[in-house]
Chain length 216, copies 2
């Protein structure tokens, strides 16, 4: 069944999880698919379908038990064990990601930064993540149990760095560099496009501008 | 009609636009909702519904004309005029975002960085974005026609900085700082959660681990 779960579905599962964190913090015990639907502007049937992919998680007439759904979602998303992450590139973006507090909250552990600039190797990020020479990736990846690499190098060197990551035996890659990267079929590549977020604001501003004009 | 379009829909429109950019680059003239569906792991009916929100963009038996759909999507997303963006915080994240090449490609123009550290004010990012004193935000926002602010400051100071942004008359805010921020109803706030991307990789690794075990 999990074979057929698309990336957009897993993205929605992440959003549900984030909201469940909030509900737990507020001491809420149960939540209906209608409340989830309203929160995310989705229809309740889609949410029930997303969650039904993973077994019978809802209780008729009650909805979902927040604590149980939270635990199930963490398990489905593989967050019930610690994931060890390397960041490739100790420039502004790499250093910012190394210290990003959100990763830690969900159990990701940034264990190393890698760069090829001699002056950077041997120093630490503000929160104490060590910067290693990219030539030592394979050895340190094995030693530290790294399973995810984040690409935060300029576009020109991104493909070369991804090749190094793949050679080191890492099978999951999160790419922040613009432009398409090639990986072999056994490696999962996900690219983050920060432009998408700005575009939803652009849509809002365009809509506002239209409303101002129709008000006039 | 646009009132009812959810944020998840506009995020999908952004993804369609990114794919249309690619199709244009490859010289492809038309695309069907089935091809779009396959590309994104969605069902074709949802895609037709997303696009039908904005008028009759498809041609029966042909699908969508790439050039026309591309132009329409850019217009729907408000990308047919230049949007001028300020980045609040000239730390690692702010500097990385100021120089992020993807924004430029879609017509966003990063016109200023703001910080409260005296040593930073007056200097430039690597690609030449000037760093101003946050006290001058209102004046420079007016002068430069800034309509979007990006929050790239530590969580502790994020709410204070957002208040300054709102006072300066900026009505669209993209927040990279973890934690909830409050804005008045006339301001649109969108928060970027970088953890979502890592979680989809985590899901993949958990599924792979399950498969390895069932193979054994």
């Amino acid at each position: 069944m999990r074979e057929q779960v698309s990336e957009l579905t897993t993205n929605r599962l992440s959003l549900y999880l984030r909201f469940l964190n909030e509900l737990r913090g507020r001491g809420v015990k149960t939540v209906s698919s209608n409340v989830l639907a309203e929160q995310f502007g989705l229809n309740a049937a889609l949410i029930r379908k997303d969650l039904a992919n993973f077994g019978d998680l809802g209780v008729r007439g009650v909805g979902y038990v927040v604590e149980d759904l939270h635990r199930e979602l963490r398990s489905i998303l593989g967050l019930d064990r610690q994931l060890r992450v390397a960041i490739m590139g100790a420039g502004n973006l790499g250093l910012a990601l190394a210290d990003y507090p959100g990763f830690r909250q969900e159990g990701f552990r940034i264990v190393a930064l890698f760069d090829n600039i001699r002056d950077k190797v041997g120093s630490l990020s503000r929160r104490g993540v060590a910067i290693y020479d990219i030539q030592d990736l394979k050895e340190i990846a094995k030693q530290e149990g790294i399973t995810i690499a984040v690409i935060a190098v300029p576009a020109e060197s991104a493909q070369e760095v991804v090749n190094t990551v793949v050679s080191a035996g890492i099978r999951a890659v999160l790419n922040f560099s613009p432009g398409a990267l090639r990986v072999p079929p056994h490696v999962k590549l996900k690219s983050v496009d920060l432009t998408v977020s700005l575009e939803s604001l652009s849509f809002y501003l365009a809509r506002e501008a239209g409303r101002d004009m129709s008000d006039a």
